[in-house]
């Protein structure tokens, strides 16, 4: 015996319409929530509240993912890809950007290609093939317009060059470090407000033994903001290291002036004392 489909009465039609409206509103809410969370994450990252920024990127990703399931659109996939890229989920980001490009997002294809290249270079590096990974990082630094890719490529490039430089003789070491600093300066020129480039600059100057410059760049990095807690803490320890090195090399008058200036920064950053960052246990 077959059941006849029941006709919808007035109440049923109303219920279905209400359900459709609710669904529609939920979709709008997901997109709006994703945008709001992404904007909040960027704001937090700019003020080096790194854990909160990461949490906000995750919220943005979750909301954007729901939106792509319910109403796939270029905007939803772009937001999803952006959140994934900021969380270092390169493969997922590549897929999202490809989908965003397919739905009409102009830059999607280029971003997907950059993210894919970065993933490839990371894999090369993990397998011990430093030369090809260096070439890819260098290429991305020169051409990528996608900031998360540029930041990661810059860090990996700098770390590889610094590791390599350790094995070099003095003259070659100096030339290699100078080249690295020039590369970082070009990055700074393209985005001077990016604290991470100043952090990399500080690290490179530390390798050159230029502690005054390294200190200045580390202070700039802290003031402009850093994208991770790990980088922030490492940068703080670089500040302390430079302070000690400078204190040992400066004359009495200069040392006092430097100590007074540094004490102002330390107070502003909420450090326990000029040599102890706030996050450090005693």
């Amino acid at each position: 015996m077959t059941k006849r489909p029941r006709k919808l009465g007035g109440v049923g039609i109303l219920a279905v319409s209400a359900w459709a409206l609710l669904l529609d509103a939920a979709c709008l809410t997901h997109l709006r929530n994703a945008k709001a969370a992404y904007a909040a994450a960027q704001e937090l990252a700019a003020h080096y509240q790194t854990e909160q920024a990461t949490a906000a990127y995750k919220r943005a990703l979750a909301e954007a993912a729901l939106e792509t399931q319910r109403t796939p659109s270029a905007q939803a996939f772009m937001l999803k890809g952006l959140a994934e890229a900021n969380l270092g989920l390169w493969r997922d980001a590549e897929t999202s950007f490809v989908k965003a490009a397919g739905l009409g997002f102009g830059e999607g294809e280029a971003w997907a290609s950059d993210v894919s290249l970065l993933g490839l270079a990371v894999s090369f590096e993990e397998l011990g093939f430093q030369e090809p990974s260096l070439r890819v990082y260098e290429n991305l630094l020169g051409k990528s317009s996608f900031k998360p890719v540029r930041l990661t490529a810059a860090q990996r490039y700098a770390d590889l060059i610094l590791a390599r430089a350790r094995a070099l003789a003095d003259a070659e070491l100096d030339r290699t470090l100078s080249d690295l600093v020039r590369t970082i300066e070009r990055l700074e020129a393209s985005d001077f407000a990016c604290g991470y480039y100043h952090y990399l600059h500080s690290q490179a100057e530390g390798h050159r033994g230029r502690y005054g410059r390294s200190y200045d760049e580390a202070v700039m990095a802290r003031e402009l903001g850093l994208p991770s807690e790990k980088a922030l803490r490492d940068n703080d320890l670089q500040v302390v290291f430079c302070c000690d090195k400078l204190a040992a090399s400066l004359g009495a008058g200069e040392r006092e002036a430097f100590a007074a200036a540094h004490a102002v920064w330390a107070k502003k950053w909420g450090w326990k004392d000029p040599r102890t960052p706030g996050w450090k246990t005693e």
């Binding site: 790194t50 854990e51 909160q52 990461t54 949490a55 995750k58 900021n86 969380l87 270092g88 989920l89 930041l151 990661t152 810059a154 860090q155 990996r156 700098a158 770390d159 610094l162 590791a163 350790r166 991470y196 952090y199 990399l200 690290q203 530390g206 390798h207 033994g209 994208p227 991770s228 807690e229 790990k230 980088a231 803490r233 490492d234 940068n235 320890l237 670089q238 302390v240 290291f241 000690d244 090195k245 996050w279 450090k280 246990t281």
Partner: protein
């Protein structure tokens, strides 16, 4: 803030861990201590905090350091200086460089989970054991936590615990008091453990 409330919240934390990681009591302290540290800072995305101590999702820090930085790291920390005095005096950079990748995240960058994992060694000033066992123990901890990590309920329970600890005002306790409270909670035998003997 009531210290008793914090203690009972931590006792519930031990019950949660006993439920999800019954055979891994060595992980109770690092997980609960990390939860407390993050609760103080009102950060509740524990899942990635705990699972990604080696794989930070944002751009990494530059970990290739010059010799001067490494020597400074060992000299600046009184306890490290004492333990590595022979290497420092002899200028044995090879030995210092070998120990640095393990000791810098624990004693320099102060990763909460890693500090919990090596609590006993840190308390005893046994940095050489940390340097020797770092890779193995960190990898083992990550493998041990994996079964529980796959269960959403585990993270939800931990996050709820963190929010409760934050609401109870755990930030008013000193780090030493937090550690003491966690140790006491872990030492008390949870029911399930008692049953299994």
């Amino acid at each position: 803030m009531s210290k008793k409330d914090v203690e009972s919240a931590l006792a519930r934390g031990v019950e949660i861990l006993n439920e999800f990681l019954p055979a891994k009591p060595a992980l109770y302290f690092p997980i609960l201590y990390s939860a407390c540290v993050w609760a103080v800072r009102r950060v509740f995305d524990y899942r990635d905090r705990i699972l990604s101590w080696q794989v930070w999702l944002e751009p990494e820090a530059v970990l290739t350091k010059p010799d001067e930085f490494i020597v400074h790291f060992f000299l600046a920390d009184e306890a490290l200086h004492r333990v590595y005095a022979a290497e420092l005096t002899a200028g044995d950079l090879k030995a210092l460089r070998a120990a640095f990748p393990a000791l810098y995240p624990v004693c320099g960058l102060e990763d909460a989970f890693l500090r919990g994992l090596f609590r006993k060694e840190l308390a005893a000033g046994d940095f050489r054991t940390i340097a020797t066992e770092f890779s193995t123990r960190a990898a083992r901890a990550r493998d041990d936590i994996r079964p529980a990590a796959a269960e959403l309920g585990f993270w939800t329970a931990l996050e709820n615990l963190g929010e409760e600890l934050a609401a109870l005002g755990i930030h008013l306790l000193s780090d030493a008091d937090v550690q003491k409270a966690v140790i006491n909670a872990v030492k008390k035998k949870p029911a399930k453990d008692a049953k299994s003997g």
